[in-house]
């Protein structure tokens, strides 16, 4: 099963894990991306995530197709949050199950690495003294 969600509501990590579980799976690797309190030494007040939703879903789908071609996986669950997030909030959950753990680890890491490169989602860091769209400028 592949389940992709871009949502303005809090992500339910346990639900993602449950969806990734199956009687055939021996290992599930889960990556949880959370909002860090500081970035480059500056205190983060909040983050704002914006997505080009249909294209983001389409690009995540491409990642899952590549994953299924490359590794013998059972389930792939990718949920990404949008809107205003506070420190500690969950921004993304990727859960990948497979019969054996190596495939789950490798595929999960590939998913988050690729998501950060190709999926049209943007993050604005809001500090006490200003704000900045991450990676926008050289």
């Amino acid at each position: 099963m592949v389940d992709i969600l871009i949502t303005g509501k809090p992500i339910d990590t346990q639900a993602c894990i449950n969806m990734a579980s199956s009687p055939q799976s021996g290992g599930i690797d889960v990556f949880i991306g959370t909002v860090r309190a500081t970035t480059k030494g500056k205190e983060v007040v909040r983050l704002e995530f914006e997505a080009y939703r249909p294209m983001a879903v389409s690009e995540i789908k491409k990642i899952t197709v590549q994953m299924l071609q490359r590794w013998p996986l059972h389930h792939i669950i990718i949920h990404h949050r949008t809107g205003i997030l506070k420190v500690g909030d969950v921004a993304v959950v990727i859960a990948v199950s497979a019969a054996h753990r190596d495939a789950a680890f490798d595929a999960c890491r590939y998913a988050i690495d690729t998501l950060k490169q190709t999926v049209p989602i943007w993050k604005k860091e809001v500090f006490l003294d200003g704000e900045e769209w991450v990676a926008a400028h050289p």
């Binding site: 991306g33 995530f49 914006e50 997505a51 080009y52 249909p54 294209m55 983001a56 389409s58 990404h80 921004a91 993304v92 988050i112 998501l115 950060k116 490169q117 190709t118 999926v119 049209p120 989602i121 943007w122 993050k123 604005k124 769209w133 991450v134 990676a135 926008a136 400028h137 050289p138």
Partner: protein
């Protein structure tokens, strides 16, 4: 033809809204659209990079743009 162009992230701030429009000759390429946008919004050229998406796909610079296409400015992504 008049093309409506969606803008996201910092591009939304640069064009001053969630979309902008451009009057373009038919058979315009993505490269020509980029030049037109950078003339109109010089801040776009100062980004680390940006892509043009056509119909929810990253578009090559020599792709042609048609009037019904959904066109979007994609500044450097930073999800995850």
């Amino acid at each position: 033809m008049t093309i409506n162009i969606l803008a996201f992230g910092i591009a939304k701030e640069i064009v001053g809204g969630a979309s902008t429009s451009a009057d373009l000759p038919s058979h315009t390429t993505v490269a020509q659209l980029r030049r037109r946008l950078e003339e109109q919004y010089p801040q776009l050229g100062k980004l680390a990079s940006y892509m043009i998406a056509v119909n929810n796909e990253y578009a090559a610079t020599d792709s042609l743009i048609n009037e019904q296409d959904e066109v979007a400015i994609i500044p450097p992504v930073s999800g995850g």
